[in-house]
Symmetry: C2
Subunit: 328 residues, 2 copies
């Protein structure tokens, strides 16, 4: 009798697990070839007896961040952070009142700032991202990201992550993939919040970096952030950074702009089954619509390459039921 | 009756597991304060109710490679590899017959090679480590490491890993630590064999690197290895590389030379419980005995720092029952 009940309990338990396994892993994705393509790829590389099986330790998936996992419009979030920092630091820098690009920025004349091109942006980045210890910078980012809100939605930036991509990250991890961020953004700008936002730990975040200096301060070791670029993790830099830091070739790569093209090429060029996907920002109503003619997140060469190579081009408008997670 | 048998089986099973859990995790370490210190630290940071508990995701342990996980005498293994490569490549480089440092090397005059100092070594490294794709270099390393043998022991180099350190790596991983190599050696020289030798996957290997170039070759993307240093992962470079690549501060660090000092300082300077250890090469009979006056693996400042800070100084002679794994 007791054994009977035990077996019954076991049957109930196992059928419960089985029902759970059959739950839609990507509920925010509309049914269709794109959703099915992701599921087919994951099934193919995780089926031990299949011809496309990939051992778990080789299941590396790399994700761009800006525009792929979270929004990048109307400005890259890290740039908003830098502009906010200039305003916060201005009282300590009276010289900025007359010194460009800071003077224009403080007057709110972004057009004049942008006219200075990359050089102006670099100056703003260095003035706001260097000159402190790594621990201090981490705290500055944590404090800012905890309160800064998007101008259009009023959401915290960490609530402007894409719900369908969160599901995709979780689905791939549940199938033995190790998920990495490979972003042009600053690595130390991302690490303080990626674990909570995406479930991606600091050691799986690759990004651009500035140089640091190891030194002793009051008998304690610190790493000082120097105003000097170390590595730009964009375009060619993405496969270079992936090789240098991960040391394995991804079998799946996800991006949204021409800055991700080389990462997808590198991934697609590997042996065995591979999967490449561009997120296409074509939803002017729920998010933004931009590609070839955008300064931010320009997707032009990538569109051609996706069509030529059979990579997935996800339509945010048609493939995604929702853009963001439910409001907290 | 059946239920009785089931419970009995369960009891046997559980007591078996318990006996297993009580098995010595470090059988090649002699009993004493050093072995006990390691076990005490691991217990302290893994006891959830204890004052020194560290959440699993923060249990980062970093290990130097040369002289800490495997031998480095009479020459760094990677240098032996480079010298072998010069001999292999010599027929394709007739100019080396008269060009230093290659001419001396090919004549077997290592003293003359060494007289050229770092510059000579760098030239040898670049001539043997650059000029091919990353995939080609990986294959060259795999082929070499599969057959090259140590001049004194006749063992493959991958059989000259330290058995007590293998046990330590496994013990820490069994307790939720993520184990990383942080070595002055070339990252792409280590990755082809570290997973098999140490259970450390490529993405957890940090090392020195040269620059690479992303390019298309016959329509396929390749990364070409350039004869230009990218990063030297030694001394100050160790905490810098750890911060850049792992992005978390280790709570345990293991080294054997002054090149590891800053990594240990950085680790020891963190908040909460930390553990630092130097392997002291004091076993002239079973391995080599060297410290302050050695060109390779010089341990001088580190000895002072270990004494001052209460770091563990492991005696290979007294603390280790064996040096290498059993002969295969």
């Amino acid at each position: 009798m007791r054994v009977h009940r035990f077996i019954l309990a076991l049957v109930v338990l196992l059928s419960g697990l089985s029902a759970q396994a059959q739950t839609d892993p990507l509920p925010s994705w509309n049914a269709g070839p794109h959703k099915q393509g992701i599921i087919d790829f994951v099934k193919a590389v995780t089926t031990p007896s299949g011809p496309k099986f990939v051992p778990q330790e080789q299941r590396i998936a790399t994700f761009d961040n800006d525009g792929t996992l979270w929004g990048e419009m109307p400005l890259y979030v890290q740039l908003v952070f830098a502009l906010d920092r200039v305003k916060t630091l201005a009282p300590q820098h009276p010289e900025w009142k007359t010194q460009e690009p800071f003077a224009s920025l403080l007057k709110g004349d972004m057009k004049a700032v942008m006219a200075g091109g990359e050089r102006s942006l670099l100056e703003i980045l260095m003035a706001t991202h260097a000159g402190m210890s790594t621990a201090e910078f981490e705290q500055i980012v944590k404090d800012w990201i905890a309160t800064a809100k998007h101008p259009a939605t009023g959401r915290l930036y960490t609530q402007m992550v894409y719900q369908p991509m969160l599901e995709l990250l979780a689905y791939m991890r549940a199938n033995g993939f190790k998920t990495f961020i490979v972003s042009g953004g600053g690595v130390e700008f991302m690490r303080p919040w990626t674990e909570k936002a995406y479930g991606i730990p600091p050691e799986q975040v690759i990004g651009s970096s500035i140089k640091t200096q190891f030194t002793m301060k009051d008998g304690k070791p610190v790493l000082l952030r120097l105003p000097e670029v170390n590595f730009i993790d964009d375009k060619d830099g993405k496969p270079i950074g992936i090789n240098r830091i991960i040391g394995r070739r991804p079998i799946a790569a996800f991006g949204n702009s021409d800055g991700d093209l080389q990462m997808l090429q590198w991934t697609a060029g590997g042996p065995g089954a591979t999967y490449c996907l561009f997120v296409h920002h074509d939803d002017a109503v729920r998010e933004y619509a931009y590609d070839k003619n955008s300064e931010i997140g320009k997707l032009d060469l990538g569109l051609t390459a996706a069509a030529k190579n059979g990579w997935t081009l996800v339509s945010m408008k048609d493939d995604w039921k929702v853009i963001y997670p439910p409001k907290p």
